[in-house]
Point group: C2
Chain length 142, copies 2
């Protein structure tokens, strides 16, 4: 069999409906291309995060991230696909780009809009940054 | 058979190596998903185009666009795929977005960088604009 065009697919999740939609499209592609699916949630630790109770806030994000990954894993498993789930901490775009390089990803799939500014996830603007910085092809799902 | 995830795929071409790379990835996806492939070249008529001999310049672009589409068609035909080729004139991003809507495209595939500013094609920055304005999912090929 010829080598798959998309051997490793990375799906950054933020818990939004849009990232869930991206995941579902990723599952379809992974099935067709027999890809390894990697789901990642990044706990946002960018310096702009200026909160009185930052420690508690990060703890909440970690728990949320784990739940998001668990839900993502279930979505993929229900479609008969295995996944790797990874939680990272730092600047969202940087961590996603680093991971895509380390895992030799051929494709990254993101939602076109995240939870929005109020929720501090910004996957919308993250997808813009990834459009410029992704080391691999990027699919922005509408 | 279930309905294809990517029934209609739009590939804007600008004659660059990157858009050729995008086309090759589009051919792979079109084969797998049995999609209709639509290739488009847009003759840039944005108001920023301020040239003494605009008429002649546009004539050159039209000829170039037709050659680019012919080459794209050959690439796809060589892989056993039929394509529709379309040439448009106007603002590049607007024309691509309009066409994607009219043709009910589910996916648009572009190169991550175009010919660059000097050649006045800007598919690089066009892909940024499309990331925000595309009516359908957008794959940016690296």
């Amino acid at each position: 069999m010829r080598k798959s065009l998309y051997m490793n697919i990375l799906v950054p999740l933020d818990g939004s409906d849009n990232s869930q939609k991206a995941l579902i499209q990723a599952c379809d592609l992974a099935r067709v291309y027999q890809s390894n699916l990697i789901l990642v949630y990044v706990v946002d630790k960018s310096p702009s995060l200026n909160l009185l109770d930052k420690k508690e806030y990060l703890e909440i994000l970690r728990k949320f991230g784990n739940r998001v990954l668990l839900k993502g894993k279930k979505t993929a498993n229900d479609k008969g696909l295995d996944v790797t789930t990874i939680i990272k901490e730092g600047n969202i775009t940087n961590e996603i780009v680093k991971l895509a390089k380390n895992k030799k990803c051929n494709l990254m799939i993101v939602g076109s809009k995240g939870l929005g500014a109020t929720a501090r996830f910004f996957l919308g603007s993250v997808s813009n940054k990834l459009a410029n910085n992704s080391p691999c092809s990027l699919l922005i799902v509408k």
